[in-house]
Subunit: 338 residues, 2 copies
Amino acid sequence: MKRKSVTSRDVARLAGVSQSAVSRTFSPNAKVSESTRRKVMDASRELGYRPNTIARSLITRSSRTIAVVTYSMENPFYSFMLEKASRFFQAQGYHLLMFFAPPSGDFDAVLDDIIRSQVEGVLLLAITMNQRQAGLVDDFGIPVVIINRTVDYAGISQVGSDNFQGGYWAGRYLASLGHQRIGFLGGLPDSSTHQQREAGFLEGLLSLGQTCSVSEIGNYRYEDACQATRRLFSSSLPPDALFAANDLMALAAMEILRYEFALKVPGDVSIIGFDDVPMAAWPSHALTTVRQPVDMMIKKATELLMKQVAQEEMQPEHIILPVTPMLRGSTRMPSRQP
Amino acid sequence: MKRKSVTSRDVARLAGVSQSAVSRTFSPNAKVSESTRRKVMDASRELGYRPNTIARSLITRSSRTIAVVTYSMENPFYSFMLEKASRFFQAQGYHLLMFFAPPSGDFDAVLDDIIRSQVEGVLLLAITMNQRQAGLVDDFGIPVVIINRTVDYAGISQVGSDNFQGGYWAGRYLASLGHQRIGFLGGLPDSSTHQQREAGFLEGLLSLGQTCSVSEIGNYRYEDACQATRRLFSSSLPPDALFAANDLMALAAMEILRYEFALKVPGDVSIIGFDDVPMAAWPSHALTTVRQPVDMMIKKATELLMKQVAQEEMQPEHIILPVTPMLRGSTRMPSRQP
DNA sequence: GTGAAAGCGCTAACAA
DNA sequence: TTGTTAGCGCTTTCAC
């Protein structure tokens, strides 16, 4: 389909130099005389020559491509990360190749796809792998960095934030507010973030002698969280406070409570989320939440991946960044005894 | 860095067949005997062989890769499209290579990058090119589909929705509601969507004898729209209705009006947006807006691009899909005389 | 500094 | 059906 298919050979012929001289001219750190370079550049311009990245990749064994894998872009938290990561890699001459994982398993097929595509690294956004899969990628020597999930394999780097601490704060804070029936709106039950946030939450409640009254699963998705909230509050003894494992679900809960149950937030129910997506700060929502340092996370993850791509062997790192409670208007004021 | 670098040659040796037999085994429509296939597959499994996509691309001149270019993922409208498009292409064995355009010009560099990368097609999300750039891509025979922008070049396909009609409806509807000072919150002034929506809007107002009282620019971004709204309503004679060129800006305006100016929406000010992002339907916002058929847009665009990638020559198409007014709670009830 | 030559791993004739 | 052969467009020794 290419109308034009100008090769370095064509340029060489026109410029009256060898084909390797053309190659050198387009190689960052080659030695070419100024006169040769000019002849080559002139000929290139005339013919509209562009070096074929694929041919280069084949021989240099470097595709300058990173695979990004994720389940969904519904959560703005991840589309933000995608943009940040993409711009970072682009600045280094790398590009992101998108892989969306199918909702239902078959991650193996995606992995196979990734390996074949000769990417130099893999960035997993809120996706994990099992040991076998991790070992497979490792066998191929492809560095992997996982964001916001843990993996049961030593050879893979992870970047996340302190989910336990965030959950702990949420639990303790809600308890300190004097709430009596505190509920949990969970994410994906199998995810490490869900488990760590829940564990921290329970511990935080416990630290003030409270327990979790009731919980439901929202799968980190808006619609599922709406349903879960309806179940949670249809009981005869509904919660008076809720910790949602991410902001998207917390916002869903607020919508349902305010507009379907006619409950006041925070008057009747306090709500805490997790992530601190931009929307959480909108005055309509004013969501009290646990901020993840998303800029730092993506910075660490991309730098880590680049380092591992560049260097032969490198110790994988596990980075856990601190979270920050963001007190806003979705939790009642701390007036009672703490 | 690759620890493993198993080639088809290695597999051939172990399987006791020729290298091309291995190649055939991994080619979708090749003729290999069952016995050879089994020998090859066994050897492949043992060695962990994966065909090298890059080598294949070099010879078939088909990278099975599509470039996606966009400015930003801030608007969920586009992250949604990205996911849809990516899944569509993935299902056909294609993958998306991400290119984020720098905010300030220099699109030429990105284009150069794209051409070198040997993608088979380009999907522009809310990005346009000038004639020279379009001609350049065309020279290389790379098909391009533009979503949500127009381009002044016949050889490129476009998919969009009826921005003029949407704007027209917004203008006429606000006027019909009896509003007296109707304002416009514009997007990127140079964008075709901005211009078409504004033109339709003015025409719609005019159809009921109204004009646009005041307008500001929000660049399709949340923060800019907040600023623009502040300017718009700081005057002594502020608007009593507002048409924003997208939902993100309409939502920004609502936040500012309600929480900074203590104005009621729709009591004091009616607001209409454009796009119908999921958030617009959240009860907190209940944004009256003009729905773009995003599913259909991405379906048309991806199908069009695939067709052009597959076929040698194909007439570029200009597809304009109908929009749908979504009446919700951000506009006052039509009680007065229309 | 430059050109000739040898591949990178694979596909695609072609002949057997 | 199978193996042999010739490249895809480029980078990279290696003499000169």
